[in-house]
Symmetry: C2
DNA sequence: AAAATATATTAAAACGGTTCGATAATTCAA
DNA sequence: TTGAATTATCGAACCGTTTTAATATATTTT
């Protein structure tokens, strides 16, 4: 059997209280006692039992990570990477991250994730767009939570945001600086605040450089269909057929951009000579597409790490005022521009 | 505060033992007592506290899910889907799945996942190829584990296998039946038993139909480089340049096939008229590539579910003899053949 | 030198469940 | 009718920690 705190206490000739104190670095323990206990711990390879510790401290030691079922599969590895970032951060700490998905038609009565029903988490990270009913539930039940890459307009929740506006602005400005005059926008639905922000970055970059004529609705294509890739293909087809003068496309994410690439290639136009293409996210595939995709790198691991940190601080200090943390992005130039 | 078992007992006018009995459906409880207790539980929305229960039963209530760091990112959503399958199965039960990755250069001394170091799991699922040192560790420490989509030659471990041989055989036979005479093979390293099996299915299908001349080494390309996609591109390039007569390529997985597709398109050959392409796995992207990819569907969710079930049985009956469960695959015909 | 403070250790009471064994009431078999 | 078996309930021990408050000793301050 695995040794318990009692075994350590006996072996070291002290009470279990003292062992607990060195375990948690609390109170006063004489230096030589401490080191004696520590060496016994080493020797017996002792680890405190999670459930016992959690029972005593009245914490669960878990954070939840919730994502739309569709997102987890569709948006490639974007959210998986954010999850990994959280998991990495949690490794240096005493928390486990429980990943689960919720269905598109979410009803808190029946679809509440198990770890919420059983109160098995101390807090929750919500990745990407997430059912409003879920957010309301967490808010009402006072479960600490942070929104990751999402926000609720008009509400002041804890969130980790990506600097979508500046990323888009930089991307489009880069396109303009390389001489592109007719820059189109292709993306998903404006339901997602990130898309909105990226679109805003796009338009304001155009404005700054006096390319207002790009801003007609004709130059942008937004639709909410099954997959981002399909949006890219359909969008590129329609825009390029109606407007052969288009010489660059800024895409609202990389998956969409991959769709655009394949459509442009089918139309026998050269990339980047005839049409330059810019993505957003820097998913792993972006580096291996042909041509390799220029994009705005979103540091996904760092986002996860930041989400973890915020959640952790929230647990330590439950009355902390909600805050927003903005994660900077980086321009990555490859072959598609 | 959340109600405890004591609150339920008081409210129902019984002892906590009795409440515990109905909670766990054990022993004898009079029908009317049971229903009285149940309605109190309903009314107060009581849930037993995980850590308390786990402390008492001496179980952790967790299973681990371990995967190479690279795999989780590279092989698209294959393993994420298997994870999801496990998570779905666990939902109807009392287990949580803790997902973590291990580095390529794994050393049990320093890189042991936290939940193993702290003995926080009752069992572990290992997805795909996984460090031998990790398997040895689990075996020595008698941690129940199952290999998913992997096996160790010569060792009799619990595992969930995909029917790679028959899948490959079917795929190649399908190609042959549509008149293809020169069928190439492109894939990753033979380090992975699945690749070996798929190659065996490939060769035996050729043999059965008297296409032995395909079997020269010239018709297959295997390399272990960064990404499967790149393997596909390089492989297709080399094979098609040296052997213009090749009229079909069987790929060891879908990601590789996507690489092959883009190489073939770059060589200005038509798919499937000039070259038919067959994948393996049926990753989500397969349905949205152009042309859409014909492939062998591997039921990833089901694999996860089966892994969970096997692990669960293993916990119930620790002295169960190691067993292998084979998951059947399905041919999916789309546009690339 | 006495009082106050800091250091060191521990016994015992939680934390919220499960389970063993005792006890009592009821049903069954001989 | 009696003894055994079954049904029903509960007290108490236990699971492995943390934490509070008490006690003892050493050190500092007045």
């Amino acid at each position: 059997m695995a040794p318990t705190i009692k075994d350590i206490a006996n072996e070291a000739g002290v009470s279990i209280s003292t062992v607990s104190l060195v375990l948690n670095q609390k109170g006063y323990v004489a230096p030589q006692t401490r080191s004696r206990i520590e060496s016994v711990i080493q020797k017996l390879n002792y680890r405190p039992l999670h459930s016992a510790r959690k029972l005593a401290t009245q914490q669960t030691g878990n954070f939840g990570f919730i994502i739309w079922e569709g997102h987890f599969s569709e948006v490639e590895l974007f959210y998986s990477q954010i999850f990994l970032g959280m998991e990495y951060a949690a490794r240096h700490n005493d928390y486990y991250i429980l990943l689960t998905t919720v269905r598109e038609e979410f009803d808190p009565k029946t679809d509440l994730p198990r770890f919420l029903r059983y109160r098995d988490v101390d807090g929750v990270a919500l990745a990407g767009r997430v059912p409003g009913a879920l957010i309301d539930y967490l808010d009402n039940q006072h479960v600490p939570f942070v929104l990751v890459d999402y926000e609720v307009p008009g509400k002041n929740f804890n969130c980790i945001k990506i600097d979508n506006y500046n990323g888009a602005f930089q991307a489009v400005e880069t396109l303009i600086k390389t001489g592109r005059k007719h820059i189109a926008f292709v993306g998903g639905s404006f339901f997602h605040p990130s898309v909105k922000e990226r679109y805003r970055g796009y338009t304001e970059a155009l404005d700054k450089h006096g390319l207002k004529h790009n801003r007609s609705e004709d130059y942008s294509y937004c639709e909410n269909i099954e997959t981002s890739r399909l949006i890219g293909e359909k969008g590129a087809m329609r825009l390029l057929e109606n407007h052969p003068e288009i010489d660059a496309v800024f895409c609202c994410n990389d998956t969409t951009a991959l769709g655009v690439i394949s459509a442009v290639q089918r139309l026998k136009k050269r990339i980047p000579e005839d049409v330059a293409i810019f993505g957003f996210d820097d998913i792993p595939t972006a580096e291996f597409s042909s041509p390799k995709l220029s994009t705005i790198r979103v540091p996904k691991l760092e986002i996860g790490k930041e989400a973890y940190k915020l959640l952790y601080e929230l647990i330590q200090n439950p009355r902390m005022a909600p805050q927003t943390r903005m994660i900077a992005v980086e321009t990555i130039l490859r072959e598609s521009t």
